[in-house]
C-alpha cells in the first residue's frame, strides 16, 4: 500500500481512480459481468453530484444482494422485489437524502412488479438502476420476465415459448406511460461507447430525483456470461446483436427533453 501511495504521489495527474463512493472491497461478481461497470457508473455520479454523505442505496435480492459491500454509503438490503417500497419509506422520511435502488430483472420485473409500477406511478423521488440480463443470475440461470423468446434457461430448457409463458416484458416502455415518471431510458454496458452513453442517461435519472421532477429509471442491458454459457466478449456481442432487438436502447420519457445548454448525450 505504501508503494502504491508513493507511486501516486509521483504521478503528476491521476486520470483514473476508484470513485470515493466505492469501498475497496473486491467485487463478488463473475469476471466479465456488467455489474462492476454499472456500480462504477453509479459511484462516479454520486461523486460528481457530491451526494456521498446523503445517499441511501437499496440492495435487491440477486447477484447484487451484497452491493452494500461495494458502495460506501448507507444501505438497506431489501427483500426480493421490495426495494422501491423500502426506498419510499426512506425518501419520505428524509426528503433530502439521495435514494437509489439497484435491482435486477427478477427482482424488479417479476416479484417486485407491483412495487415498481406503483412507486413509478406515485412519482417517488427515487432513482432506479435496473440491470436487465434477461436471466436469474444468482439462483443459477432460470427464466426471467425479460428472458428472450426461444432463449434457453434452466427453467425454459426448450427455449422460452411465449404461448406458454408470455413475452419478455419491456419495463421502461411500460413505465414511460405513467404520469409520475420523469425519466425512463434503456442503455447498455456492452461496449465502452455504450457505457459512456449509459452514464449520460443515468445522470438524467439522478437529476430527475435531485431536481424533484419525479421517478427516474435507467434500464441497463448487461451480460450474464456465466449463465448464458458465453465468454464475456461473446456475451457482450450477443447483447448488441440480439438483446437490443427486443429491448431497443433509447430514451422513452425525458422531462429534460428540449432543455437548452445541457448536453448529456
Amino acid at each position: 500500500m505504501e508503494a502504491l501511495a508513493d507511486s501516486k504521489e509521483r504521478c503528476e495527474q491521476i486520470v483514473f481512480d476508484r470513485p470515493d463512493a466505492l469501498t475497496s472491497r473486491g467485487y463478488t461478481y463473475c469476471p466479465g459481468c456488467g455489474h462492476g461497470t454499472i456500480h462504477r457508473l453509479v459511484a462516479e455520479l454520486i461523486d460528481e453530484f457530491g451526494l456521498k454523505d446523503r445517499t441511501v442505496g437499496m440492495a435487491s435480492v440477486g447477484c447484487s444482494v451484497f452491493s452494500y459491500w461495494f458502495f460506501d454509503c448507507d444501505f438497506i438490503s431489501c427483500a426480493h422485489g421490495r426495494a422501491m417500497a423500502n426506498a419510499t419509506g426512506v425518501k419520505r422520511a428524509h426528503p433530502d437524502a439521495f435514494v437509489f435502488t439497484y435491482q435486477g430483472d427478477g427482482d424488479l420485473a417479476s416479484i417486485g412488479m407491483a412495487e415498481t409500477i406503483h412507486a413509478a406511478n406515485r412519482g417517488e423521488l427515487i432513482t432506479v438502476i435496473f440491470v436487465n440480463n434477461a436471466i436469474y443470475g444468482m439462483t443459477g440461470g432460470q427464466m426471467a420476465p425479460t428472458t428472450l423468446e426461444n432463449m434457453v434457461t434452466t427453467t425454459s430448457p426448450l427455449g422460452r415459448d411465449p404461448l406458454l409463458v408470455g413475452h419478455p416484458i419491456r419495463v421502461v416502455e411500460m413505465l414511460s406511460l405513467l404520469e409520475g415518471v420523469a425519466f425512463a431510458a434503456r442503455a447498455s454496458v456492452s461496449s465502452a461507447k455504450n457505457t459512456l452513453k449509459a452514464k449520460a442517461l443515468m445522470k438524467k435519472a439522478f437529476r430527475a430525483q435531485l431536481e424533484k421532477k419525479g421517478f427516474g429509471i435507467i434500464e441497463i442491458l448487461s451480460n450474464c456470461n456465466t449463465n448464458w454459457n458465453k465468454s464475456p466478449i461473446e456475451a457482450n456481442e450477443w447483447i448488441d446483436a440480439e438483446m437490443v432487438k427486443v429491448f431497443p436502447l433509447g430514451v422513452y420519457k425525458d422531462v429534460f427533453a428540449g432543455e437548452k445548454g445541457k448536453k448529456d448525450e
Binding site: 445517499t55 438497506i76 421490495r82 417500497a85 423500502n86 437524502a97 407491483a114
Partner: protein, 369 residues
C-alpha cells in the same frame, strides 16, 4: 386503567390506536384497507399529515410493511396495521424487520380465519402473533388490548418497547375492540418526541460511520453468531416484559385465563357469579402474549382447583398455559368459533360444571388432545 378525570374522549378502538401512535411520535404510517381495521387507514390519512408525518395507502400489504421497513431504517417511528389475511402478507416484511433489528409497530385487528374467513372478531392469530409468524427464528413483542383505552395506551407503549429492544412490536386486537367506542383518557398518552437514532440511514454520513441494515449472513458461523445475539435479546425481553392483569384471583377456586375480548366477557361473568354467590372464579389476563407472563402464572397456578382457558379459536394460548402449568393443575379449554363471542351465561355454566367437578372431562385439555 387511569381514571383521573383528565381529558377524556369517546373514541373507536381503531381511532384510539392511531391516536396513541401519533402521540408516541409515530410519523410514518403505511397501510392497505382491510376490514375490520379500515378506520385506522382512514384516521391516519387525515391525521398523520396534520402531525407532519407521512401517510401512504400502499398498493398492497407487502408494499406497506416494506415502506415501514424503509421508514424504520431511516429512524422514524413507523407503523402499519391490518387484519388477519393482510397480516399474513406482512409476515415477510416483519421477518426482515426483526432480522434487521429495526423498531416498528404492526397492529393486527384480527378477524375470523383461516383464509378469507369472515370479518367477525376472532382470536385465531394468536400463534401468528406470538411465534414470530414469518419465516425463521424470531419473535415480536406482542400486546393484547382489552379496551379502547388500552388500544391507545398499549400502542403508545409499543413504540417505546420497539425502540428499546430494536424489534417489531405487535398489537393483537380484534374486530370488537377495534370497532367499539369507549372513553379514552388522553392524559395517559401525552405527546412526546421519539428518540434520536444514531444507527438510522439518511443524510449526515460525513459525521458518522455509514449505516447498513441487512438480513443476509451467508456464512453459517456469522449467522450463528447473529442468532445468538438475537436469542440473548429475546431472553432479555422475556425477563423484562411481562404484562398481565388479575381480577378477583386472591380467593378464587377456579382461574380463568383469557386475553382481549374473551377476557372482557369473562370479567362480566365473574362479576355475576360473585354477586350471585356462585363459584369463586378469578381472571388472569395476559397483556403481553409474547412474552407470555409465565412466571406469574406459574407462581399462582397451584392456588386453584383448575384452570379454564377461554379463547375465540380452537385452542392456541391454551398451549402456552399448558407449557407453564404442566400437570400441576387440571387445565380446561372452551373455544368459540366462526367469529362468535362468548356470552357471560356460557361462562357461568362452564364455571358451575367445573366447580362441581374440577376434572370434568368435557372440557379437559390434555396433551394428547
Amino acid at each position: 386503567m387511569s381514571d383521573n378525570g383528565g381529558d377524556r374522549e369517546l373514541m373507536k378502538g381503531n381511532h384510539a390506536m392511531c391516536l396513541g401512535a401519533i402521540r408516541a411520535g409515530a410519523r410514518a404510517y403505511y397501510g392497505y384497507p382491510i376490514t375490520p381495521q379500515n378506520e385506522a387507514t382512514e384516521y391516519m390519512s387525515f391525521h398523520m399529515p396534520k402531525a407532519g408525518g407521512t401517510f401512504i395507502q400502499a398498493e398492497s400489504e407487502v408494499a406497506a410493511i416494506n415502506m415501514v421497513f424503509g421508514a424504520a431504517a431511516a429512524g422514524v417511528r413507523a407503523m402499519t396495521s391490518s387484519s388477519s389475511p393482510g397480516i399474513s402478507l406482512k409476515q415477510e416484511g416483519i421477518s426482515y424487520i426483526a432480522t434487521a433489528e429495526l423498531p416498528c409497530v404492526v397492529a393486527n385487528i384480527v378477524r375470523c380465519g383461516p383464509g378469507l374467513g369472515n370479518i367477525a372478531p376472532h382470536q385465531g392469530d394468536y400463534f401468528q402473533g406470538t411465534r414470530g409468524g414469518g419465516h425463521g427464528d424470531y419473535r415480536t413483542i406482542t400486546l393484547a388490548p382489552a379496551s379502547v383505552q388500552e388500544m391507545a395506551q398499549l400502542t403508545y407503549s409499543a413504540f417505546d418497547l420497539a425502540d428499546e429492544y430494536r424489534n417489531p412490536a405487535l398489537i393483537l386486537s380484534d374486530g370488537v375492540i377495534g370497532q367499539m367506542m369507549e372513553p379514552v383518557d388522553l392524559a395517559t398518552i401525552p405527546a412526546k418526541d421519539p428518540p434520536v437514532k444514531d444507527w438510522a440511514v439518511g443524510p449526515g454520513q460525513d459525521k458518522r460511520p455509514r449505516n447498513v441494515h441487512t438480513t443476509i449472513y451467508l456464512d453459517p458461523e456469522e449467522m450463528a453468531e447473529f442468532h445468538l445475539k438475537l436469542i440473548a435479546k429475546y431472553d432479555r425481553i422475556r425477563r423484562e416484559v411481562n404484562y398481565f392483569e388479575e381480577y378477583m384471583t386472591d380467593d378464587a377456586e377456579i382461574l380463568i385465563v383469557a386475553y382481549g375480548t374473551s377476557s372482557r366477557v369473562a370479567r362480566t361473568a365473574i362479576k355475576r357469579m360473585r354477586t350471585a354467590n356462585g363459584p369463586k372464579v378469578g381472571l388472569f389476563r395476559p397483556i403481553s402474549v409474547w412474552p407470555f407472563p409465565a412466571r406469574k402464572l406459574l407462581e399462582m397456578c397451584t392456588n386453584y382447583k383448575c384452570i379454564l382457558v377461554l379463547e375465540m379459536n380452537w385452542g392456541q394460548m391454551v398451549e402456552d398455559v399448558r407449557l407453564v402449568v404442566g400437570d400441576k393443575v387440571p387445565i380446561h379449554f372452551a373455544g368459540k368459533h366462526g367469529g362468535l363471542l362468548f356470552t357471560p351465561a356460557e361462562i357461568v355454566a362452564l364455571a358451575n360444571n367445573l366447580s362441581a367437578d374440577p376434572l370434568n372431562p368435557g372440557s379437559l385439555w390434555s396433551i394428547v388432545r
